[in-house]
Symmetry: C2
């Protein structure tokens, strides 16, 4: 095999507001050789996720900020093409977190083997990966859904939102999604069985539309977006409502943000709001993945991927997240073998 | 016994912003006779509480709004002076909720007997009543304190705050109170054993002072006041912090309120915020009261009352709550026997 070059995307500077191409730098380098206990992985799929925006700032957060001039870290599905590890053989499919690059030499400890017979390997970045587990634990552990309850999900057509909504359906809830296009809302209702969906961009009054489609109020608000959409949901909370705070994508690119204080609303409804990150539940990952895989296999849980072809479109794919372009999990296919 | 007149305070109109005397009307009426199953109670102590402000508005809340031209409802300790009930005898001390009036004919079902040998009868409106239970359940059920954790309490010199802080000390926590005068902060530290206390009115930077006295961050923020004080506490939250939302007294008189959105902060810390009202825990009241009484008896839990003499000062006592005049439970002594 002729030595190929590794292409990678570095964080060139910290974005201010909405990220732009100039915040990133593309470089090429020779691929190094794996040492003992290491493998060389070729990237097949890489993931772009909203949470990455947070790591591009240098604010203290639940994960450390990205370093400048380093590869943008994130989930990757790849194939082992050279192994000096007893754990992995050439040809193994693996899940890694080495980020936006076409090859990587990485320690065996940093990889997880993917079973290609269980489901398409790309699902390890989606419904059977971090987004699926995020939906699973946020909804079940924090949301504690009970049959007949009303669940509202913002960012409902994203990878996490559509999974959370379907799990709520499996648990017997009435599920309403909020999304940003008619195509998305139609998908949620017609393909995924949501009981209702609202296009917040075309809605004349989100509050009124929510009241119409949630006549019994809201018991769980699974929040992926925050901001003004949440402002319209919170007045509908029922007594003892639960709010898993999963993401706040509408705010990630704001330098400053103010809005109505929510504490009085939580106070008068005895509502509970809890932020989380999927790693809070690391001890239960195996159980969660097993359940998700079973639901996927039986067809109760559907997934959808939005795949952009070509490593060179990685930054475009990332920027697209903030324009609401994707339905389902946003991936970049770097290579097909 | 010569027939006396019942004096009562009605809600004359709904306050806008800070309540004023003109929002209330004083009336006098003849005392009626108890029917079968009813008793006539003479008011000894009555309670004024911050939550009453909420009921004076006609917004939907956890308790229904007060009706205009009706007596302002609230907790009362009284003495049975005429009984047509098998449950109560003349001379019994009772806890009721018939509000701001000097006498009341009330059903036996609406009263609870108070044991005057257990503790002074006025404590049924404070440390061994609603405020005590509020502190107890908010801190223990929502806060889940663990030894060594740091607990910050706003409104710390109020009836609820000082009780919550002492319970946190009993549970082995480091406790810091925020209050509005040097007299209050000195009381918290010197008399109640708080590890620190900050006078937010004289503090040049509440944030800096908090950082100094909470070098390990904040694990529990027991919030009685909300608003700008909370804005300064939330940046100090540790991972998996808990925020029992007990009151928001700083906001009760605002018509509109905006501030920094708190969801991103809760998100990055996996923090949990939960509103509550003491009645959420009604099934555990007996257990809570038993524990509180035991702590009071052993001296582990101290209490303090701020007693204003005379029914005619009831509205003054209520308005004083919003000026931060009281240390401990604010009561009006209507009669001493």
């Amino acid at each position: 095999m002729a030595q190929k070059m590794n292409q990678k995307v570095l964080l060139a500077r910290r974005p201010r507001g909405m990220p732009v191409h100039e915040d990133f730098r593309w470089v090429e380098e020779e691929i190094s050789q794996p040492a003992f206990g290491e493998v060389l992985v070729k990237t097949l799929y890489l993931s772009v996720d909203p949470y990455m925006r947070g790591r591009m700032s240098d604010r203290k957060s639940y994960v450390p900020p990205y370093q400048l001039d380093e590869v943008v870290q994130g989930g990757v599905v790849g194939k082992v093409i050279q192994s000096r590890s007893k754990e992995f053989q050439e040809g193994d499919f693996v899940l890694g977190n080495y980020g936006w690059q076409t090859y990587a030499v990485t320690s065996e400890d940093e990889l997880t083997r993917i079973d290609p017979d269980l489901a398409p390997i790309s699902t390890a970045l989606g419904v059977l990966g971090m987004p699926g587990l995020t939906a699973y634990f946020g909804l079940l552990e924090i949301g504690q859904p009970k049959p007949g309850e009303t669940v509202v999900i913002s960012g409902a057509a994203g990878a996490v939102g559509m999974t959370a909504g379907q799990i709520a359906k499996i648990k017997g809830c009435r599920v309403v999604g909020i999304a940003g296009s008619d195509q998305k809302t139609a998908y949620l209702v017609n393909e995924l069985g949501f009981d209702g969906a609202i296009n917040y961009k075309s809605s004349k009054s989100l509050r009124n539309d929510l009241e119409q489609v949630c006549p019994n109020g809201v018991d769980i608000y699974y929040d992926n977006v925050g901001g003004e959409i949440s402002d319209q949901v919170l007045p509908l909370l029922n007594h003892q409502a639960r709010i898993p705070l999963c993401g706040q994508i509408s705010l990630y690119n704001l330098e400053k943000d103010i809005g109505p204080r929510i504490q009085p609303r939580l106070l008068i409804t005895s509502a509970m709001m809890k932020g989380f990150i999927v790693s809070d539940y690391v001890d239960k990952f195996d159980q969660g993945l097993k359940q998700l895989a079973e639901w996927v296999k039986t067809g109760w849980l559907k997934y959808r991927e939005n795949v952009i072809e070509g490593f060179e479109h990685t930054v475009d794919a990332f920027l697209g997240l903030f324009k609401g372009e994707n339905i389902g999990k946003q991936l970049v296919r770097v290579s097909d073998r």
